[in-house]
Amino acid sequence: MNTKEKVIIVKDLVKDFGSFRANDHLTFDVYKGEVFGFLGANGAGKTTAMKILCGLSKPTSGEASIAGYNVYTQSNQIKKNIGYMSQKFSLYEDLTVLENISFYAGIYGLSFKEIKIKSKQLLEKLEFESDANKLIADIPLGWRQKLAFSIAIVHNPSIVFLDEPTGGVDPITRRQFWKMIYGAANEGVTVFVTTHYMDEAEYCDRVSIMVDGKIVALDTPDNLKKSNNASSMNDVFLELARKKDNVN
């Protein structure tokens, strides 16, 4: 369901920590309903950029707007309109499935009635009804991951940020998880995902690759493979990292 409506607009975004430049003039757009892969080695500046896009920190210079809101002045509105899921799935192990859903829905300001309806829908969709009152500590990792994703979009955000969402999960569960991501994208949620599994990059509509704080490539996986004469995204990534080293 790709449209040309831009939900993330980033232009010349710079973030400095003292003399260290973590994000060096980033420029990219993300369209509504797109699955956008945000790739880069550890320390390339992914997390810094993501923090800015989530309204947690302010850029040093440049422009960025998320769902139509300015990152400098409207971080509150941004926070209301995005969902976030971290690598650690971030569910409370001593709360039940239902309590976790209610809690996260509650902090996004959903009313008691809405929470009730939403939880029911969500549990049905995940076929979790029978486990609604189980503690998170007692359910398997793959289920937690699915639940965490569903909770991240429980308040109908326009964009959901996924920070390495498939870490430590087996390949089959990962595949199922990507099905959920596509499902959400089809419903119009923009998915902004960081990952270091290069095979997952192939699932994205478009990917950007960051090296040393700069975006060195941004295109569909197919185009990137063609232009770099590579057979897989992994090769593309290695090729780009090597080029960058040679320039330096």
Binding site: K79, Y84, Q87, F103
Partner: protein, 368 residues
Amino acid sequence: MKSFKGFVIKEFYHIFRDKRTLLILFAMPVLQMLLFGYVITNEVKDAQIAIFDKSKDVITRKITGKIASSGYFQISTYIENEDEIEKVFKEGYIKEVVVFENNFAQKLGKDGTAAINIITDASDANTANLLANYTTAIINDFMVKENASAVLPMKINSETRMLYNPELKGVFMFVPGTMAMILILVCALLTSVTIVKEKELGTMEVLLVSPLKPYQIIIGKVAPYVALSLVNATSILLLSNYVFGLPIQGSVLLLFSECLLFIMLSLSLGIFISTSTDSQQVAMLISMVALMLPTIILSGFIFPIENMPWWLQIICHVNPSTYFIVIVKNIMLKGTGFISVWKETLILFGYTILFILLSIKKFKIRLQ
């Protein structure tokens, strides 16, 4: 506001589902009060002593009887010669031997003076000291009463009065310190651990990305502990009042306000610790070593500050618990009002503001 309510409810789930937290919250205060009240006490009760009476006359018998009926001592054996003194001490259960010299009554009548030798087992120095003092006091008391009938040309009587704690009950000493310790433990240790736990689990990240403001997150996390700490303070006061008979001389309202201030201070310390580390173990360790130990040892709780070397005294005066203990003692035992504790209150208030500001500063640096 609605989302805040949900947050507090969630926090109560955490507390009531964790046995360790429950234990610290509800069993510890009661246990410690009972421990300090009954076990660690400076009072002497039924100490086992031996009498070596070389004279065996009317007066020595009277004095022995008085010692035996005082309630502090139990005469477990009479010995007959010098060698036995060391023997009974080595057996271990005798803490003191009272020796009357030969012809005690006779000498007292003739010269006006006679000697009693009090020998104590000073391998436990504190107890030895106390026993000796108690025995001397009993003998002096006896002499005063005996002489009352006889007319003496001139006599100086010294009399000691113990103010505010006339029976020198140990529990009077321990209640204020125990309060300080429990509140530090509950507020600083538990809150620092619970905040750091969210960081460890990664849930803090999600909360920060949510529309909740950082201050809402922190207040939501600590609010339940404020409530539970007040419950604890109340239960300590009730226990000390009904079980140990410790009265609250001053205003209860003032006492609770000061408790609330100290709770705030402990919370700010807990929050400060949580901004300094990402690991629950480290948070717990810092709370234990940097807060609990000084509260027990360097606050005037158990050991008097005046007797410490100057550099330890400085630490005591930096330690906020010291001031809280002074405040509680003043209000509970002396019944004084706010005027007598305003300085200490101001210091606690200053500390609270300081640690809140430091926490905010550290938090901002982290987000950058």
